[in-house]
């Protein structure tokens, strides 16, 4: 059975049908891409999967559970992590603190009385796990800078690290390469590959940079005006004439 299974998702904004009867699935450990022109409904779909928006129709089943109506933080606890198109970092915190707070959130042992007995500090185990992830992402040397001081590329890696600390079974990445230069985005692909190797996390990647998509995923969905127009193994989808017309604007 698929890890994530969304069936018949529709969402309207006023008179605009942002998503219509959309279905997709992601298997455990899989890397799936979701592409489409601007305004195709990719981010809307993400927000529906994550609970930021409530779809008008359709069901989202994750790991055998129906997520309908569940608030964001509970979905996160079941194992959905995400990064944002417009970075959402915790200002005034360092990269390391981002990871530490995510680690603490995963353990969910933040009772108030522990704070009051001064047992709230990070344990050696927590520090160790954070260090390991910083190392995996290759941002150990900038981990103690406040996030305002980080480059876009490092900022995206901190977001990724924060999501990874919750040990997600599925990672939703919303245009992780936007705003990155070519070297940074190559480095990001490398990190994603390493993450998949070491942690067997499934990935659903929304991305404009087709090179990055082709490097990172094995299966592809193409969305246009809220409708899926193609899906299948990456190479096969890329050869599809309709996709080329809709997405690449190429005469065939």
């Amino acid at each position: 059975m698929a890890l994530l299974e969304a069936t018949g998702i529709s969402k309207r904004f006023g008179g605009i049908e942002a998503l219509s009867e959309l279905s997709l699935f992601v298997d455990a450990g899989d890397a799936v891409g979701l592409v489409g022109p601007n305004g195709a409904g990719k981010t809307t779909l993400f927000n529906c999967l994550l609970g930021l928006l409530r779809p008008d129709t359709g069901r989202v089943i994750f790991d055998g559970r129906d997520l309908g109506g569940m608030p964001i933080h509970r979905r996160a606890r079941f194992g959905i992590g995400r990064t944002f198109q417009r970075m959402e970092l915790f200002t005034e915190m360092t990269g390391r603190e981002h990871l530490l707070v995510a680690e603490r959130a995963r353990r969910r042992d933040g009772a108030l009385w522990k704070d009051l007995l001064n047992r709230g500090g990070p344990s050696a185990d927590e520090i160790g796990r954070v260090d390991a992830t910083l190392d995996l992402l290759g941002i150990t040397d900038v981990a103690d800078l406040p996030v305002e001081a980080l480059s876009m590329g490092h900022g995206r890696l901190v977001e990724l690290g924060r999501a990874l600390m919750t040990e997600p079974k599925l990672l939703l990445l919303d245009e992780p390469s936007s705003g990155l230069d070519r070297t940074e985005s190559l480095a990001l692909s490398g990190v994603l590959a390493r993450v998949q190797d070491e942690r067997t996390t499934a990935i659903l990647l929304v991305e404009h940079d087709l090179d990055m998509v082709l490097r990172s995923v094995s299966r592809l969905y193409v969305l246009d005006f809220g409708v899926l127009i193609a899906d299948g193994p990456t190479a096969q989808v890329m050869a599809d004439a309709g996709v080329r017309r809709a997405y690449l604007g190429q005469a065939v």
Binding site: H73, A76, E88, L89, T91, E92, D115, M165
Partner: protein, 641 residues
């Protein structure tokens, strides 16, 4: 039925003032995104000028109106725009709220500085005399009520036409979306904003002089109530629609008078419910109009042109500084506490005790606002809950205040938790309004109840056995303060504090790693309310008797503004604020009693700088001077080589 009509017509005139004020609010909200909490204060300013001109300097009534409404009102609006609001148009809502709050607290005290704090009976009528009566819808109304109705209708119609049919009206609607975009289209956004503020100032002036004669004396508090009613009306119009706003204002005015008319005269219900009615309407609207709650802050598409907001200055961990700090703390603090005793004897010790007690109450603001960034305007009312709990326990069960502090804290925490449940759905400006509603309810309704506030005589809170001496009580207060301060520090360092820091940064992102925003805020709200309750019980014991007047809502506003001035992120900030709140009035009283009314203006000044220095202006200056000392130390070390 005829009784109903009488009340309704009576309420109609109030409703018209509310509508008038609400249009002023909507106007500035639409052009600068500021929920202008200072509107009531602006109205009070004009009313005070009019009073001074006509009643005290015996000017001609029309000359007075010209000065108060046409000159002072718009001028005040102009100044507010130029000096403050123009610069924070794209700032977060909370910053705008705090700036406006500072004005709400500061303007009346500046007005009182110029026009005196004495009782101002019988404010003069604006247009028609309130001693002549007219027939209106089969009921008798006086000339002032007629003035109100006529003016309100005229202004609202004129304003509607202005917004609809002039190009500047259209520009006003564009400016709120993105001032810079509008400027790129060749429109002077600043000019548009200024127009709105000047107009709104004019309306505030009108509302002020019209509302004043409906009360027996000119009191600034009545104008805060005007503000609240206007906010309810504006909320009814979803902060956009002028016709709905008008309707909302009328409904609040009529509803309030009809309700008051049918309730038994002079009961707590009638006395408390009438002023609270606009608040109840406002809270109801906030809770049940989802569209209002989900209004997003306007995000300027060109906001990224600005440099990112500077990070809060990091605290200086220089070891030499720490040594100097320790020495100054060891020498300085006792010096501040004890040296003035040579001059003032035990009065000074009492002032210091009061300062420590206030610090404890203010710590509750550090806990809530400093950790979660939420603005609550009912912290002093929660202190009241603690004080009355301790008082009733002492009176009825002869329990010591030491128990009173603990139980009072627990009760206040429970009340705070209860308030936070609906309030958490709101957040930001709306949370501030909802908590203000609670403060006013407590003030008018809860505390006057006999089993809470002990009625006219209040409740006695004797000092605990063994702590009746001044010194002993002083040290008891210090211990309570230290415990509460310790709690704040531990919570901040611990998981809850980390969660809250994450939520401050990005609520959505925090939720995506599994942090429950509601739970974290609920926790901190309860902790903060508990600290306020403990401080309140201690306060009650230090003054030995408390009644309902002592916990009026204005002090909650003043405390918030004060702590934001000195620094809301640190425990020292709260202590500085508490001591200042005890010492400055004491010294002013002794040496410069003329300036006594300016205390609040002084504190309010700090909140006006909040946009630039969210860590508090005092905290900012402290860090700056610490940095200067470090540099000086560095130079001295380098010099010999």
């Amino acid at each position: 039925m005829s009784r109903f009509i009488t009340f309704a017509v009576f309420g109609l005139s109030y409703g018209c003032v509310y509508s008038l004020a609400a249009t002023g609010l909507v106007l500035t909200f639409r052009t600068s995104g500021v929920f202008n909490m200072a509107f009531g204060a602006q109205a009070y300013g004009s009313a005070a000028v009019y009073y001074a001109a006509v009643k005290e300097s015996h000017w001609n009534r029309w000359a007075g109106l010209l000065l108060a409404v046409v000159v002072v009102g718009p001028l005040l609006g102009f100044a507010l725009d130029r000096v403050l609001f123009r610069h924070i148009r794209t700032a977060p809502q909370v910053v705008k709220l705090i700036t406006a709050l500072g004005l709400l607290v500061g303007i009346p005290s500046v007005a009182q500085f110029f026009f005196g704090t004495d009782n101002k009976p019988n404010p003069p009528d604006a247009f028609w005399s309130s001693h002549t009566f007219y027939r209106f819808l089969g009921s008798r109304i006086d000339g002032n009520q007629l003035s109100i109705i006529v003016t309100a209708v005229a202004v609202v119609v004129a304003l509607g036409l202005f917004l609809r049919f002039t190009s500047i009206g259209l520009q006003m609607r564009a400016v709120v979306e993105s001032p810079r975009m509008v400027q790129l289209a060749g429109i002077n956004a600043d000019r548009v904003g200024t127009t709105a503020w000047v107009l709104s100032g004019l309306i505030a002036g009108l509302a002020g002089v019209l509302l004043a004669p409906t009360h027996t004396a000119l009191v600034d508090r009545d104008f805060t109530l005007l503000l609240v009613a206007a906010m309810a009306a504006a909320a009814f119009g979803r902060l956009i629609s002028l016709p709905l706003t008008l309707l909302g204002g009328l409904a609040v005015g009529v509803g309030q008078e009809v309700l008051a008319g049918y309730l038994p005269l002079n009961s707590v219900w009638a006395k408390g419910l009438r002023p609270s009615f606009p608040f109840l309407v406002l809270v109801g609207l906030l809770l049940f109009l989802p569209g209002l709650r989900q209004r997003r802050d306007t995000t300027d598409p060109l906001a990224a042109c600005d440099p990112p907001t500077p990070a809060l200055a990091a605290s200086h961990g220089d070891p030499r500084l720490r040594r100097i700090n320790r020495v100054t703390a060891l020498v300085g603090i006792p010096a501040i506490v004890f040296l003035p005793m040579l001059a003032y004897h035990h009065t000074w010790l009492n002032v210091m005790t009061l300062g420590v007690v206030f610090s404890t109450i203010m710590l509750s603001i550090t806990a809530l606002t400093g950790l979660s960034g939420q603005i609550s305007l009912c912290q002093f009312s929660l202190a009241g809950v603690g004080a009355f709990t301790a008082g009733q326990l002492a009176t009825r069960y002869d329990l010591s205040v030491l128990w009173g502090i603990l139980i009072g804290a627990a009760v206040a925490a429970a009340v705070g938790a209860l308030i936070s449940l609906p309030a958490l759905r709101l957040g930001g400006v709306y949370l501030a309004l909802a908590t203000l509603a609670f403060a006013l309810m407590a003030d008018n309704f809860l505390f006057p109840l006999h089993w809470v506030g002990g009625g006219q005589s209040g409740v006695q809170i004797p000092k605990p056995v063994g702590f009746s001496g001044e010194w002993a009580f002083f040290f008891l207060s210090v211990v309570v303060l230290a415990i509460c301060g310790g709690i704040v520090v531990l919570v901040r360092k611990g998981t809850t504090g980390q969660y809250l820091a994450a939520l401050r940064g990005s609520e959505t992102a925090a939720a995506t790693i599994g942090i429950s925003p509601a739970r974290a805020k609920f926790t901190v709200f309860a902790v903060s309310a508990g600290i306020a309750g403990a401080g309140g019980a201690l306060y009650g014991s230090s003054v030995t008797s408390v009644n309902s007047d002592q916990f009026n809502f204005f002090l909650s506003l003043a405390f918030m503004v004060l702590v934001l001035t000195t620094g809301v992120r640190t425990v020292e900030g709260a202590v500085n604020a508490g001591i200042a709140f005890a010492v400055i009035p004491f010294l002013l009283d002794k040496y410069a009693s003329n300036f006594n009314v300016l205390v609040f203006a002084l504190f309010a000044y700090g909140s006006l700088t909040y946009a630039k220095h969210p860590e508090g202006i005092v905290e900012f200056q402290k860090r700056r001077s610490l940095a200067a000392i470090t540099r000086w130390l560095d130079r001295k070390q380098v010099a010999p080589t």
